[in-house]
Each structure stands twice: as C-alpha cells, then as structure tokens.
C-alpha cells in the first residue's frame, strides 16, 4: 500500500482532484467536468485523468454536493413525518417571513409535503413533563400509512423533545420494528435545542437526503474498492472535519455546505504555514461569492445557518456567508440612469457573453475581458460581441467610452463585494483591516487587490492553486466533532459542577469517536466555548474558554470583555446568561507539505514576462504578463502585472508589490 493522500471535490461545474505525497510533497492534479446526477463517474474520471493507481493511495477524502443539490433542487427522497397532534404544518408555516423585505411575492416548498405529515397524540410541556402519553397504536397506524404511501425515509419530530426525548426515543424503537430500512431520524438527535421549526427542518432534511447520500457514497466506495483502493473513503462535513463514508449518512445533513467548508480548511492550512493566522477568505465563482473569517488560526463554526429562504440547518457548520455576486452578475443602467451590477446573474448558462454560449447581457466577466484582465485569445469572436454589448447597454446610456464603462462595472461590483465582506466581518465582531485577504475560486484573484484597497486590507494571499482550493481542503482537513449543549440559565445561578461535567463529557465523546476512526494523527485537542448574552437578549456572543473547568468569575469577566469589544458598551446592572456550552474535538493530521503544488522544476532563474498586453486601470497601462509556474521564489513584481496560470488569472494593481513565499504563495502588499 502506498502513502498518497487524495482530495476530491465535486462542484457544480468541475470535479477537482489533488493527490499529494506527504513525504516528498509531490503533487498530481486533475480537473474534469462534474457528472450529474450521479457524481461518481466524474470522480473516477478524475482519478483516471490524473493517472493514479488507486492501490497507491492511503487515503481518499471526498467533498460532495450531493446533499446540497438535493436540498436546493428539492430532489429529495420520499420522506414521511410523524409529529405531535396539532403541529404537522410547522414545516410549512415557518416563522412567518417572506423571501425579500420588499415585494409581496415568492413561493416556498416544504421539505415534506402535507399528505406525508401525520399527527399522533402525545405531548410534553416545556419542562419535559408528559401531558399526553405517546399513543403507540396511533403511531403504528401512522407508520403503516407512510409505508403504504411509499415513503423511504422517516422523520419523528415531537414538540419539546429537546427537554425530554423519551417519546421520540420510544417512537423510534417501535419504528425500527416496522420500517424496512435504517432511515429513521429523530428531531432531538441532531439538535437538542428549542425552536420547533428549525429543529424540525434540520431533522426533515437529514431524513430526506440520508438515502441519497448513503447510495452515492456506498456506490462510490464500492467502485473505488473494485479498482484497488483498500481503505475507507472519508467524506467532508460542513464543520470542516471529515468522517468515514460508512458513518456519514447517519447525520447526512451535516454534509450540506461541505464544499465551502473545505475551501476554508485549505485557507486555514495555507495561512498557518505561511504565517497568516488571521484571514478573510474570498471565494468568487460564476454566480456567487463565499466569504468566511479565520481568526487566530481558527474558523468560526455556527449552528444557525440558513441555506436558502426558510431553510435553516442548525448543525455546526463553518460560518461561510454567501453573497450573490459572481463573474456572471449582470450589469445594467436602470430607468433612472444609474449603473447597477447584480443581483441578477447570467449564471453558468447562458453565462457571460464572452463565453459564447448565448449570453446577451453584460456581466462582470465581460467587463474584465474588455479591460484586458482576462487572456483575450481564449475568447475569440465572443470577445467582440461582449464589446458591442458593453457599448450599447452601458457605455452609450452613460456617455462613456467602452473601457470607462467596463471599469465602472468592475468598480461597482467591487464596492458591493467589499461591502459584503465588511458586513460579514462586522457581524462577527471584527475589523477587516486586521486581516489578510485569502483569494481563491476562478475569479477571486482577479478582484482581490482592488477589494483589499477598498477595505484597507494591507495584504492579499493568493495560494498556489486558487482554482482547486476545495479539493486541497479535503487533503489537509482534520478530523473534527462538534458538540453543543443548551443550558440557558443566568450565570450566577448556573451549577458550575454541572458545567464542568458537560464539557468533560463532550470532550470524552469526541475523543472516543476520533479514536474509532483509524486515521494517522499527530494529536487530539479539544476547544471549549460558551455562547452568552445579557439576560433578556436574544443574540449570542461566543466566548472562547481556556479549559473545560472555567470558574464563574472567569466566564463573567470574559463575557464582559468580549461584549465591550464588540459594542463599546458596559452593562454592569444586567446579569449575564449562559446559553450554550460547546466543545470541538479535533484530531490533527500530520502537516502537509504544500511546497510542490506548483512544480519547482518549471521555475526559472528570474521572473520574465511571457508578453505584454494593454490593461485598463483608469488609463491604459502596458502590462507585463507572467506565467505563474515560471516565477522563482525570489521574484518581486511591481504592479501593474498579470499573473496567469492553468486555473486562474491574478491581477496586480499599479502600486502593489508581489513576492513569493517558500510554498510559492503570492503575497501582495497593498499600499494604503
């Protein structure tokens, strides 16, 4: 058996593969089209393309969008719900909202349709006392009825089960006698917190994607085994950790958002090795941009992510925020004569005009092309169409030249994206100026230096392989288990012995799960935090804890300090409330040598441009174009410059300076 580690990430358009030799750092890469709806042939194709012998692999880590797509497209398994009498419509009623603040339209499709949501007599009160015992006869009848209707998966969700899960546990016991497969999800199992809609949706989504994920992963694992891969397949979770394929579908909902999480894990590892513990990650793709914050070498995990309108998934996931701006965002002049960019997008079909796939409306990518920022030879005739459209749709109504119009489009797009990044960092209580910008995705490196300037961020880090960052994240990710336990008591009346016991039990359970996973580790650590607020508030502040045995005074002090840092307010007259206790147990994998992601053999002695082209930065600049693989580590390049590589184009604005670090990351200094 070999020792190679493979990370494979399936995105909407491409399946990316990185195979890394941890001893030598040697790398093989592949980028192939994603196969749909079954992603497995695309994954196998990637291995073939990279010329990999599966028998040489020690580990394959997989990031998949199987569950993400199923949720967003509602291509879900037929799932039945059994719930408390009077409450079957909770999943459809939501929290009484609408999709947008303005506009009285919109539609919503619940995860489980109304005829498959059945009610039975049972009831707990808010303290977990039984008001109505579980009606087992009605339960059995409901189960039979759902099977009759052809349900494959079952969700059991009772009111106040977080306070007392006895009815859900008993109902699941009975269901297991009758249900022909193991696809049974209980509401309290994934999330032991009050809020019936959020807990119910989380459980219903888990039930509805479980069979899909199970089938996909087992088929892929079987295929890999058949081709000689002897080990377990590991799958990325949305918390940035990975789990064995054989166990992943039990909590399948945790894989929703695993793609963005692996990107953040790659940023974390790259930043750690490059000496950047504080990063804002900026992943700009065709239709959207993902932003996350890494502080002190850690990525914040949130339990309250809404993946789309009225679709809350409350399990621990890396806190990645999605902004509706990408290369395909459409620019237009509105009825008032104001230039606007987005939120409408040409998406990947028809896509930007310059892709030549039938797009007719000017996008960010078209503007980049006209400004000379993208390699013109890749676009041919469509480049002319883009120029004409920019002239007609933007330049003429505004009375600008085509180049000035294109620049205006980019500036406005950058202003919006910078605003979104600023809002993300501020909502997490941080100032963007204290971070470096980690830019990846197909379009991230093209906009990063301009955004950094807009945000007064002094440095930008462009990793060696911006276009395959998510796959790299699979290679470098650790094992990770997150635990949340709701206390919700004023701190001064909390039982501190119980607090310590909960944190200790969380740590113990995490260590047990990690020990069972048979993966080579350099160590296992646990991190603790508390979610706190002032009594009477609803929003929470997460307070990191130095140990599993904090004193009451320590909690009070840390909370007050964090609150003052965030809101510039001290409220000595109001009591602190301890809401959640959290523990993350992390199994650290050996450090990965990333120095050969760009093959050093291609490096030249000095940095020499492969050519020049005219790029607009207010005025036309004759700009050198470099091939990234040729750059020596000693290179220093002053902007304006363009650095091209297989998977992306990096734009260096005038006034900025680029150097390379030992792992060939580009470090851009942005003057303020």
């Amino acid at each position: 058996m070999g020792n190679l580690v493979a990370g494979v990430d399936v995105g909407g358009t491409f399946t990316d593969l990185v195979i890394l030799n941890p001893d030598t750092g040697a790398v093989r890469l592949a980028k192939v089209p994603t196969s749909l709806p079954n992603q497995a042939p695309g994954v196998l194709n990637a291995f073939d393309t990279a010329g990999a012998d599966l028998a040489d692999l020690a580990l394959i880590v997989h990031g998949t969008t199987t569950t993400t797509n199923a949720v967003l497209e509602r291509a879900l398994c037929k799932t039945g719900l059994i719930t408390t009498l009077g409450f079957r419509d909770v999943l459809e009623l939501g929290r009484r909202t609408r999709p947008h603040p303005y506009g009285m339209t919109g539609t919503f499709t619940p995860v489980i349709p109304r005829d498959l949501r059945l009610e039975i007599p049972e009831r707990m009160d808010a303290q977990g006392r039984v008001l109505t015992p579980l009606d087992e006869t009605a339960l059995r009848a409901a189960i039979a009825s759902l099977l009759d209707k052809g349900c494959e998966s079952l969700c059991i969700h009772f009111l106040h089960a977080y306070a007392n899960p006895a009815h859900e546990i008993r109902a699941a016991e009975i269901a297991r006698e009758l249900w022909p497969n193991p696809y049974i999800t209980c509401g309290h199992h994934l999330l032991s917190e009050s809020r019936e809609f959020e807990r119910g949706v989380t459980a219903a989504v888990n039930a509805a994607v479980q069979p899909l994920l199970e089938r996909y992963v087992s088929r892929l694992a079987g295929e890999l085994r058949r081709r000689g891969y002897p080990r377990d397949l590991l799958v990325m979770n949305g918390n940035g950790g990975m789990v064995e394929a054989s166990k992943v579908s039990r909590e399948a909902v945790k894989t929703v958002m695993s793609g963005p999480a692996s990107g953040v894990m790659a940023a974390l590892a790259t930043g750690r090795r490059a000496g950047f513990p504080n990063l804002l990650t900026y992943d700009m793709g065709g239709t959207s941009t993902d932003v996350a914050m890494i502080r002190n070498g850690r990525a914040p995990v949130s339990n309250e992510i809404e993946v789309e309108y009225a679709m809350p998934i409350h399990v621990p996931m890396v806190d990645v925020r999605t902004v509706g701006a990408g290369g395909g965002s459409i620019a237009r002049v509105d009825a008032g004569g104001m230039l606007r960019v987005g939120p409408e997008s040409a998406g990947s079909t028809p896509g930007p005009i310059c892709y030549g796939r039938g797009g007719t409306r000017v996008t960010i990518s078209d503007a980049n092309l006209i400004l000379g920022r993208l390699p013109p030879d890749r676009f041919g005739q469509a480049a002319e169409d883009a120029r004409r459209a920019l002239q007609d749709q933007i330049a003429a109504p505004l009375g600008l030249s085509v180049e000035a119009a294109a620049e205006a489009v980019i500036r406005i797009a950058n202003t919006h994206m910078a605003g979104a990044i600023r809002m993300v960092s501020i909502s997490l209580g941080a100032d963007p100026r204290d971070f470096a910008l980690f830019a990846f995705g197909g379009a991230g490196p093209l906009h990063a230096t301009a955004l950094a300037r807009e945000l007064a961020i002094p440095r930008v880090l462009i990793p060696a392989r911006p276009g395959i960052t998510n796959a790299l994240g699979c290679v470098v990710a650790d094992l990770r288990h997150d635990f949340v336990r709701t206390i919700n008591r004023p701190l001064d009346s909390a039982d501190m012995d119980a607090v310590h016991a909960i944190l200790a039990a969380q740590e113990q359970e995490g260590r047990r799960l990690i020990a069972a996973e048979r993966i080579a580790l350099t160590g296992v650590t646990a991190e603790f935090s508390a979610d706190m607020q002032f009594v009477g508030q609803t929003h929470l502040l997460r307070i990191p804890l130095p140990s599993a045995t904090p004193t009451r005074a320590e909690l009070q002090e840390r909370f007050e300090a964090a609150y003052h840092a965030r809101f510039r307010v001290s409220l000595p007259s109001i009591r602190a409330n301890l809401v959640n206790l959290n523990c993350s147990v992390i199994g650290h994998r050996p450090e990965t040598d990333l120095s050969r992601l760009i093959d050093p053999a291609h490096r030249r002695a000095i940095a020499e441009p492969t050519g020049h082209r005219t790029v607009w930065f207010g005025t036309p600049h004759e700009t050198p174009v470099y091939w990234r693989d040729h750059l020596p580590l000693s290179a220093t390049i002053h902007g304006p410059a363009i650095i091209e590589q297989m998977d992306t184009t990096t734009l260096i604005d005038p006034g900025c300076t680029v150097t390379l670090d030992a792992e060939a990351n580009l470090i851009v200094s942005v003057p303020q």
Binding site: E92, R96, F108, R114, G336, A408
Partner: protein, 560 residues
C-alpha cells in the same frame, strides 16, 4: 459634474453606513422586538430639511419615510427656538406621534453629524420599545380614547448631552414605563448604532471629500426621482379607484373607510384620499407621517428597485387626508396606525394599482399584524407576565403564482416566535399551530393560507386583548379573484364560545385556567378568474387537505 462611477460608489457607501447601523442596533438590543423582529430602522437625513438621503435596506418597511418627517420637525423646532440647538455629542430622543411619528412605542433618536463645526447631515433611528407606559402593557390599548391613555409622550429633548446621557431625563422616562430595568441596554444599543454610523460616514467623507459626497447626494435624489418617474410611466394614464375598510376603531363598532383614487398624470402619481372616514374615537387613527409612509412602502413593494430616498417620493403626491382619520391630531389615540391602518392604506394602493399593473401587483395580502396580548400572573413562577403572539397570514395570488402562506405583515419583516419559546416563557399550551384550511381566496392563482392556532391558559388568571383586522371583510381579490377568508377570533370560556363584539379587536377579556383562545388569520385574496385555474392544481389542494372537497367544488365549480 460628478462621474457616474463615483456616484454609484458613494451611493453604495451610504447604503452600507445605514446597513451597518441596522446591524449594530439589532445585535446589541435587548428587546426581542428589535433584536429578533428587526422592528427598527436607521438612516441618514438632510441637514437643511431632514429629507431622506439613505436608509438601511433591512429596516422595518413602515419606517420608510417617517424619520424624514420627524427630523424635519426637529430641524424646524431648533430653528424656531422651541427645541434647544445641538452641540457636538448631543442625541435627541422623541416619540411624539404628531411630530412625524407612528405610535408612541416607536422611539426615535436623532444625532447631528458634524463636519468642520457645521452639521453635515443627521443620523437617526427608530426602535420599537416594548413599553412606553399607558393603560395597557405594550401600548396597544384597543379602547383608548386619548393620547394620554397610550403612554408617555416625549417632545424632542437631548437624552445625550456632549456625549453623556442625561440621568435626570432617563429617570423620568424609567419612572413612567414598565420593565424599565432592561431599557438601559436598548438605549445604549440605539445610541451605539448612531455612533458606529458616524464613524463609517466620517471614513467615507475623508475618502471622497465633503463636496463630492454632497454633490453625489443631490444627484442621487434626482436620479431616484427619475427612476420612480420612469416606473410610473408603466402605468397607463387615468384614474384608478379602490377602497379598503378597517373593521372598527375599537370603541365604536362601525367600519372605517379608506377611499382612494389614484391618478396618473405626466410626471406624477396622485393618491387622493378624500372621502375617507373622519377621525375616530378609538386608536385606529393614523398620523400624517405614517399615512405617507404607508403609501411609500406600498409603492416600494411594487417597485423594489427604486432606492429608498426622498427623490423616490417626489413624484408621489398625496392629497385629501386633511379632516380624515388618516391625518389625526392631538389628542386622538393612534396606537393602531403603524400596525393596522398602515396595512389597509397599502391594501388600497395595491387594489387600485393592480388594475393598472396586473403583472406587478398582487391581490391583497392578509394585512394584519395579528396582535394578541395576554397579561396575567403565573403562580408557578410567582410573577406577572405580558405575552404577545403576533402572526402572519396568506399573501395575495398574483399573475405568476399562488400567494405565499403565513407571510409576515405588509409593513413588517419580523419572524414570529416559536411555540416552544412561548410555552417556556408563559403559562400557556398551544393546542394547534396549523394552516388555516380553506382560507386562500379563490382565483386562477389562489391566495396563500393564514394561520390557525389555539392557546389554552394553564394556570393563574389572565386577560386577553386583541388588535387585529380583516374580521369583517377578507383581503380583496383582484382581476376576478375572490376575497381571502376573514380573521376569526374565538374565546372559549367554561366551554362557551365568545366572539368579540368588534370581531378583531377587544380588550381585557378575563380568562381562567382551561379557557382557550382560537385565532384564524386571514387568507390572501385570489388573483384572476377561478374558472381559469388548472384543475390539476385544484385536485392537488384537495389531496393535501388545504380545502375540503365541498369547499373546493363551491369555489371552483366544475374543476373539482
């Protein structure tokens, strides 16, 4: 002449300043009405006349436009000497409804933003306080007949002087409101939002220069007006009539009528409310600022693209409100204006303009905040409590699809509280929280469904109050669609069902343990002729139990 790019960049920058103020306010607030329900708004206003420059995109819709009126009143009062002139670090507080406000609970802060010793603009925000005194906790007294019964009324006074809070004014406020011990947190949050806004605005001005930003602001106003006019051009010239009715004023059980005729002329759209009912005895009066704001927010629902700016309102002319209940003066009670009357005004606007813009405007949404208040004593916890259940209703069908079910009020964006949280906090048990079956108005595209909930009092005694609407008539259908179901309130005491005299409004109905309250909120109006509905959709609604077969056959003859 400012270039179009700098203009757009400054516009986005000003918008972000406001969005950041909104975020700071919600995150730091204590009151769940602000922190969870976002019942607040932040904006930037002109130094000379208070007109709206920019406002946060996640602010509560009913505040669109109101703060420009309160800021204008403040500017005028300072000029006339009625209010003390500002010094750096001062923040004014005001909640007087008759000075450009809504109801007393909406408390506005206003802070001048200084540049080089001059006021460059005003930063202002509004937050809904959980209580400002008055006859009933929370301020929604359904039977108040004067402003004094509704709570403490503050003219503009300086709560912060040179950066320090005036402890004397604060103590006067606290002595007149309920649950005052937590208000300090909300006051700090509200002030903190303005200070954060000032920091960010300073950065923007330092970067682009005061003159350039001022020029951009003037242009933004002109462009927003131009954009609104371009949208108005989509409306065929002519007059469009509509009426909407409020069930009653809460005191005299007679409907109040909003009569609206909308006239499209070359450059403007005139909303004439002449013929509407005169000022009423009970709290269903509106004040001028709220009436205007209701028209603005309805227009923004129709044209969501137009930025929130004084320019966008310029082409909208509102007439005929003098002498009606839509322009009430002191001491008329007004607690129902922001939550209920505003939504009837919006409904009238929708009903008039759906005739002209059938592809953009929906049939009427449920249009009530569904406020059910329960106050009492919980013997198990040994304390008094005040509970509020707000609820959504069905949205109107539209040209493209059926209406959304259980949407929030037209004038709000807030989430309803979870049943589990309500049962943790109050001695009540929900027997049902379900779709209001059969409530969507029939049409080619039917209305969305309302909510059907039933609450039982578990222990102690309590009193129930209701401020809702659409109990007498349902939300209007459009283009041949039928009205949605009416709002229904039933109080079940000792096994007997009581229907409030005013249907949707009542105050202080006593309850004992075991008594229940059942509320069914309105469904949305239907859109288009029911005869044009796809029979497969009718069958699907029956299969899912949204309508019983008999009702479906009655509403869609020959289709089911």
């Amino acid at each position: 002449m400012i270039d179009p790019v700098t203009l757009a960049v400054i516009q986005a920058g000003l918008q972000q300043v406001c969005d950041e103020m909104d975020l700071t306010f919600s995150r730091a607030a204590f009151s769940p009405v602000i922190a969870e329900a976002d019942d607040r708004s932040d904006g930037i206003y002109s130094a000379t006349d208070g007109s709206l420059i920019a406002q946060g995109s996640r602010g509560l819709p009913v505040f669109v436009g109101t703060m420009q009126f309160s800021t204008r009143h403040l500017v005028e009062r300072i000029a006339s000497g009625e209010t003390l002139p500002p010094e750096p670090g001062d923040i004014y507080i005001v909640n007087d409804p008759y000075l450009g406000g809504t109801h007393l609970m909406d408390v506005r802060f206003a802070m001048p933003f200084w540049r080089n010793g001059e006021i460059f603009c005003w930063l202002s925000n509004t937050g809904h306080w959980p209580d400002t005194g008055g006859a009933v906790p929370g301020g929604f007294s359904a039977s108040a007949i004067s402003a004094e019964q509704e709570g403490l009324r503050l003219p503009p006074v300086k709560l912060f002087k040179r950066g320090q809070m005036d402890a004397e004014i604060y103590q006067i406020i606290c002595s007149n409101i309920r649950v005052s011990e937590q208000r300090i947190g909300d006051v700090q949050a509200q002030a903190s939002a303005l200070l954060v806004g000032a920091d960010r605005l300073t950065q923007l001005l330092d970067r682009y220069g005061d003159a350039t930003v001022s020029e951009a602001i003037a242009h933004m106003r002109a462009l927003a007006a131009r954009q609104m006019r371009a949208n108005l051009a989509l409306i065929p010239e002519g007059r469009y009539h509509a009426t909407a009715t409020v069930d009653s004023d809460g005191v005299i059980n007679e409907p109040l009528t909003i009569a609206l005729s909308v006239t499209r002329a070359a450059e403007s759209l005139t909303f004439d409310f002449a013929g509407s009912s005169p000022p009423c005895m009970g709290p269903m009066n509106s004040v001028r600022a709220t009436t205007l704001s209701s028209v603005y927010l309805a227009m923004r629902h129709i044209f969501p693209d137009v930025p929130i700016s004084a320019g966008a309102f310029e082409p909208l002319v509102i007439t005929g409100i003098e002498g009606t209940f839509l322009d009430a003066h002191y001491p008329r009670p007004v607690s129902g204006c922001a939550a209920e009357v505003s939504q009837r005004i919006a409904e009238a606007v929708f009903a008039a303009l759906v005739q002209a813009l059938p592809d953009r405007v929906t049939a009427a949404p449920a249009g009530t905040s569904g406020n059910f208040g329960l106050g009492g004593h919980d013997p198990e916890k040994g304390r008094d409590y005040v509970m509020y259940q707000i609820s959504g209703g069905g949205y109107g069908g539209n040209l493209h699809h059926d209406g959304l079910s259980n949407g929030c009020s037209t004038i709000g964006i807030s989430k309803a509280p979870p049943v589990e949280i309500m049962e943790q906090s109050f001695p009540v048990l929900y027997r049902r929280y379900a779709l209001h079956e059969g409530s969507g108005g029939a049409g080619q595209h039917r209305g969305g469904f309302g909510l059907d909930y039933e609450i039982e009092l578990l222990r102690g005694s309590a009193r129930a109050s209701f401020v809702m609407d659409h109990g007498r008539t349902g939300p209007q259908g459009a283009q041949g669609g039928q009205d949605g179901a009416v709002n229904r309130v039933e109080v079940i005491r000792n096994g007997e069902t009581l229907i409030p005299e005013h249907l949707s409004k009542a105050q202080d109905i006593p309850l004992s343990p075991g008594d229940r309250v059942r509320v069914r909120t309105p469904g949305g109006g239907g859109y288009g002729n029911p005869a044009d509905r796809d029979p497969a959709l009718v069958a699907e609604d029956i299969r899912l139990g949204r309508y019983d077969p008999a009702t479906a056959r009655r509403l869609w003859p020959g289709k089911a």
